[in-house]
């Protein structure tokens, strides 16, 4: 058989993909499918009937009555595709591994991308059919409601890209998480968080995160989906909202959402293809991890910086829409300090996440060194999975510090806070925070392994914050003690850095002295610890290399 025959299953032709067809067979059996389709049709029919009868009762015209059904139908479709579909993808993937049949699929001579596509569309195929059964109801409501294609096409386009993004997340969860129930719960939890917790982050300057959901596009389309009177009122309000700005560019909500989600889909595809090609591979290579980090930073910055001058970025405005029409509105300096701190914190957490992905386990390292010995090399290839992740974290920390500095400068030196400046040496402080925390974490992970780091995260990262919070809530006199305790946790360092170093910062009198002092002390400790950890890592790697390289080659 000709090896080139694998091109018989091109990745894009998903309808001929054997894995897709295999799931069409197993998940579209009349008995299983029938009950679900019946339930979906019942709900969709109920929504349309209710909208019509409310329209009759409230004397709405036929167009408005039909429009009343559109949003509830969208929610139903969202539940089917986003929640049930994602859970099915994650759980189905884990089930393949539980049953032990995943090795068969690994052996099939198809490209990794074709396999990913097969699972992506195959596992949730029943949910796609359920979604399709709601479409006649939606089509009727759109037709009767006089919704033009310019409204529904981008809306459903984003529903589709969001579905892909969430299903990719489910596929990745199912590939990485070993327990079926956990995979199922984690994926549902992630989608739930995207519509609850994540949009709140957008209100603290991290606007990019809201484009991971369909919410911006639904909001944009809302005036044309609602009954005419309500829609007109909403449209007037929305005229105050600018379009999405990305640095100097202007996008519609739909285009920008597709852009953000497309990037994530690309990264998820790379992760999954790597895993399908070699099960032992890291989810991302070092270069990809750095690239992904820079891309997220650019999205965060490009999205946030243009909103500073209009004031839309500030939480006080984001939380209270009515403030948009108050002429003398002025952001509080504390908001800028908090947003700068949160930006630093999210950057640090992203470094932790990517460091976890690219850091080689001791097993990987030993195998790498043995391979090097066999090939007569004295060092590991810098970008191989077995090579240290230390330098990649250094680069990410420096890039992160740059992004954080840029964001903070944009905020502090904006027209809202005249006379305030961010000195360039602040970059050094930001870099010190990210390098100390990021490298301390990475070096510990590489030298000691995940379990030890997990314990340290609890003892050093979480417990001090919890204890500090308890002390802080006792009385104002304990606030300074609480500030010192909370400062012990490396994750508090970015927030403390902004609170201590920005000229805008106006700390409450109880902690005005404690926070800057605690920051300087704990940063010093973190730097020493990171240097020590780096030395220990260097020593551990040197010993490992010596031991393995010194072994006689048989």
């Amino acid at each position: 058989m000709n090896p080139a025959e694998s091109s018989r299953h091109p990745a894009w032709k998903f309808w001929t993909n054997p894995i897709f067809r295999r799931y069409c067979r197993s998940r579209l059996r009349p008995r299983g499918l029938g009950i679900w389709v019946l339930i979906t049709v019942l709900f969709a029919g109920f929504i349309v009937s209710m909208a019509s009868s409310i329209g009759v009762r409230t004397h709405l015209d036929a167009e408005d009555a039909a429009r009343g059904a559109i949003l509830p139908l969208l929610v139903l479709q969202g539940i089917v595709l986003f929640i049930l579909g994602t859970a099915q993808v994650a759980g189905g993937m884990t089930a393949e591994r539980d049953e032990g049949v995943i090795d068969y699929q690994r052996l099939i001579p198809m490209t990794p991308l074709a396999k990913v596509v097969g699972y992506l569309f195959g596992l949730p195929v029943r949910e796609y059919v359920m979604f399709l059964t709601t479409l006649p109801f939606t089509a009727w409501a759109m037709w009767r409601g006089g919704i033009s294609w310019q409204v529904w096409l981008p809306l459903y386009g984003i529903v589709f890209t969001s579905t892909l993004t969430y299903h990719f997340t489910g596929l990745l969860t199912g590939t990485v998480v070993k327990n079926r129930r956990w995979a199922f719960l984690t994926s549902i939890g992630l989608v739930f968080a995207l519509y609850t917790v994540v949009p709140q982050m957008a209100k603290f300057g991290l606007v990019f995160f809201k484009y991971l959901s369909v919410t911006p596009v639904v909001q944009e389309s809302m005036p044309k989906l609602l009954p005419k009177t309500a829609g007109a009122a909403l449209e007037t309000l929305q005229q105050l909202v600018p379009t999405v700005k990305f640095f100097g560019l202007d996008f519609s909500e739909a285009v920008f959402t597709a852009f953000c989600q497309g990037g994530l889909v690309l990264v998820f595809s790379i992760m999954l293809c790597r895993k399908w090609r070699r099960h032992e591979s890291h989810l991302l290579g070092k270069l990809w991890a750095i690239g992904f980090f820079v891309w997220i930073q650019l999205l965060l910055l490009g999205n946030a910086l243009p909103l500073i001058d209009s004031g839309s970025l500030f939480p006080s405005r984001a939380f209270n829409r009515m403030m948009r029409i108050i002429p003398d509105w002025q952001p509080d300096p504390g908001e800028a300090v908090a947003m700068s701190g949160i930006f630093g914190l999210v950057t640090l957490l992203l470094i932790f996440l990517l460091a976890t992905i690219i850091t080689p386990s001791s097993d990987h390292q030993i195998r790498g060194w043995r391979r090097a010995r066999k090939e007569g090399a004295k060092a590991l290839p810098l970008l191989s999975d077995a090579a240290t992740g230390y330098w990649a974290v250094v680069l990410m920390a420096l890039a992160g510090a740059g992004g954080w500095f840029w964001f903070t400068s944009g905020l502090v030196e904006s027209r809202w806070f005249p006379g305030h400046e961010v000195p360039s040496h602040l970059f050094v402080a930001f870099a010190a925070v990210l390098l100390a925390a990021g490298l301390g974490f990475q070096a510990m992970l590489e030298a000691k392994g995940g379990r030890f780091v997990g314990l340290m995260v609890i003892l050093v990262g979480v417990v001090p914050i919890m204890v500090g919070a308890v002390f802080g809530s006792l009385s104002n006199s304990m606030a300074a003690v609480a500030a010192w305790l909370i400062g012990m946790s490396p994750v508090s360092l970015p927030v403390y850095a902004s609170m201590s170093l920005l000229s805008l910062s106006d700390l409450p009198v109880e902690v005005a002295r404690a926070v800057p002092r605690a920051f300087k002390f704990w940063l010093f400790v973190a730097v020493i610890a990171a240097v020590h950890r780096s030395y220990l890592l260097w020593q551990a790697r040197r010993d490992m290399a010596r031991t393995v390289l010194a072994d006689p080659v048989e």
Binding site: R25, P109, R370
Partner: protein, 321 residues
């Protein structure tokens, strides 16, 4: 090594293969070559490195280092080409719970791109017949017995007519009749030029099925060749001999005991039972010498150590070291 590489392109060619799990060495610089058309057995106690070797051969695992070629295709470089060549039946042979037997096989036939839909159906029917499961084609995979499951997975493995077939414990769970069918199927396959690499704990079965075999222990290759060659390489030339004497029993026993290589001698009735270490020529000399002593020898029986005994010795030596 089974044969000189220059004489043929080996179906399976492993050089300096090493697999590590942290500090544990699962396969330690294994070098092995298997000619095409062989039914080659891989024997070893638990933890010998059999499954790790198989997983590297089937592209399911990346080794620490080493070179592996299947029919001239580098398994580590050209994964997809290697996957077209190899058929793998893992230990325990799992099947999906949500598919019927025919659906399971048709899915794999489609995945391997085995022609049109009708051609694929024909091939599935052929393979089902091969494993005597034609009447079970409409049954759910999860409803099959252990033996039937093994056979379904074997049918799946045979679907794309692999040039190299790798079977991890294929006979476990099969009844004697099914084992016989498996044996015949493998022989038939080998006659078409395919190479079968097989591991089993049922060693007598393996000895019957295989044209040659190798023994692994603690990741290392201890011996390879025919069953007798392997026995010899393992230094186990010992055998139990039983001489039935019709006269001068005590003299005969004393004479035997004085010979080199004879030990653990016991007399039971007319029989002298003893262990003998030596070549076949030495054994013939022993028999001749006994007759020359004027002893009437009614019979001389030999019982070689079974292959199981040898492996038990290997496993025991693991336990004691």
């Amino acid at each position: 090594m089974i044969a000189n590489r220059e004489q043929f392109q080996p179906a399976i060619d492993i050089r300096d293969l090493r697999v590590d799990y942290g500090n544990f060495v699962a396969v330690d610089d294994l070098t092995l070559s298997v000619p095409p058309g062989e039914v080659f057995g891989l024997v070893g106690p638990n933890g010998a490195g059999k499954t790790s070797t198989f997983r590297v051969l089937t592209t399911l695992m990346e080794p620490t280092y080493g070179e592996v070629q299947l029919d001239g295709v580098d398994v580590l470089e050209d994964i997809e080409a290697a996957r077209r060549i190899v058929g793998y039946m893992p230990d325990l042979a799992p099947v999906p719970s949500d598919l019927k037997v025919a659906e399971f096989l048709e899915f794999h036939a489609a995945a391997y791109g085995l022609g049109s839909r009708a051609q694929r159906r024909d091939r599935v029917a052929e393979c089902l017949e091969e494993v005597a499961l034609t009447d079970q084609r409409g049954k759910w995979c999860k409803e099959l017995s252990r033996g039937q499951t093994q056979r379904v997975v074997l049918a799946k493995t045979l679907l794309h007519r692999p040039r190299v077939l790798i079977l991890d414990e294929p006979a476990s769970g099969l009844d004697p009749l099914a084992r016989r069918d498996l044996r015949n199927a493998l022989r038939k396959l080998a006659k078409t030029g395919a190479t079968v690499f097989i591991s089993s704990h049922i060693l007598s079965e393996l000895a019957e099925m295989c044209t040659s075999l190798c023994v692994m222990n603690r990741g290392r290759l201890l011996a390879s060749g025919s069953v007798d060659q392997v026995r010899e390489q393992l230094g186990n030339t010992g055998r139990t001999l039983t001489a039935t004497l019709l006269n001068r029993l005590e003299e005969g026993a004393a004479w035997l005991e004085s010979r080199e290589g004879v030990h653990d001698l016991e007399v039971a009735g007319q029989q002298v039972v003893f262990r003998f270490n030596g070549s076949d020529d030495d054994q013939a000399d022993l028999m001749e010498g006994l007759i020359r002593q004027g002893i009437r020898l009614r019979s001389f029986e030999e019982k070689r150590s079974s292959f199981e005994d040898i492996l038990v010795d290997v496993a025991e030596s693991n336990r004691h070291s």
